[in-house]
Amino acid sequence: MWQLYAETLLIFLACLIIQVILWRLLRRPDDVVPYQIVILFLLFWLIPVIYSLAFLSWDRMILSLALGSTYIMSFPAASAKSPTVMIFYILHRSGGLTPKELESRLATELDLKGDRMKDLQADGLYTGSGKPSLAGQILGYTFWTYRRILGIPLGEG
């Protein structure tokens, strides 16, 4: 079992190194998040699956997929400059700020509304005419349905 974990971790680290190289060498500034996520799935799901198939081991494959999923699910939050993460980072590094100072620092680091609308358009989830594309609507309906099944209102951001 421990050998399985060691091998899975090694494959994960190898994929991570490949991702760093790919991102540094090939990523263009206008690459959109869905495109990046497709690359992540190819790297962190497909490579371990191919490796696992060589051993015909379901345990190895599922462990690799679970580990890959944790990384892929962390990616949007990490790459999107989450305000919560920025609050912790700025406050800890500065040793404390007044609420006004923090708000002003955040305003320079993040464009809380504009960024997201631009991102949505760049990602192909929003059209120029001010409404979501088909993919955007599917994503919107998925999360809306999920919240309704849970029985809780839309998150407050």
């Binding site: 079992m1 991702q19 760093v20 991102w23 540094r24 081991s57 379901w58 345990d59 599922i62 462990l63 679970a66 580990l67 999923s69 944790t70 699910m73 962390s74 949007p76 939050a77 990490a78 790459s79 999107a80 989450s82 305000p83 919560t84 993460v85 920025m86 609050i87 912790f88 980072y89 406050l91 800890h92 404390g96 700020l97 007044t98 609420p99 923090l102 955040l106 809380l112 509304k113 997201r116 949505l120 989830l125 929003y126 979501p132 955007g136 609507q137 994503l139 919107g140 999360f143 809306w144 999920y146 099944i149 849970l150 029985g151 809780i152 209102p153 839309l154 998150g155 407050e156 951001g157």
Partner: protein, 158 residues
């Protein structure tokens, strides 16, 4: 071959989802409880259930740990999915459109989002104010923020 501990771990996301729905349906008052905290509790309870099942089935220790770890990893992925529905601004804009929520109530107002997060962080006792200054408590979120900023520098050097 697939081991029983892997099957148990694979069942965890379904248990988490069912438990999450049941908790909100049976105890509607919990809608006022911090939602992310509740999601974490549901994930941890599911992991305890998974470990309990593995122990009950008489699995060896390494298999019990394997089932628990798989449950935690898949639970972590579920938490991110839930968190996207809770805090992701892009998702919020899309949901607001399909749910036909009027623009002024759709919640992607920058000041409101900042205020909501500050309220939530204070409620969770992660941030406190002393001598007019906001301070942050050392803990996993601080370490995570440094890790994420390091990660950003690694992938987005400019």
């Amino acid at each position: 071959m697939i081991s029983p501990s892997t099957i148990l771990g694979l069942g965890a996301p379904f248990t988490v989802l069912c438990l999450h729905i049941l908790v909100y349906r049976i105890f509607p008052a919990l809608k006022n409880f911090p939602r992310q905290k509740l999601a974490v509790i549901v994930i941890l309870v599911t992991t305890v259930i998974t470990i309990g099942q593995a122990t009950y089935l008489g699995m060896p220790l390494d298999q019990i740990i394997h089932a628990g770890l798989l449950s935690l990893m898949l639970g972590y992925s579920y938490f991110h999915f839930f968190n996207m529905s809770e805090t992701a601004r892009r998702i919020r804009i899309l949901v607001a459109y399909v749910a036909k929520i009027p623009h002024k109530d759709s919640g992607y107002d920058a000041g409101k989002i900042y205020g909501n997060r500050m309220v939530r962080l204070r409620e969770h006792n992660m941030i406190y104010e002393t001598d007019g200054k906001l301070m942050v408590r050392n803990g996993p979120m601080v370490w995570a923020s440094y890790l994420i900023m390091f990660w950003r520098k690694l992938f987005y050097p400019s």
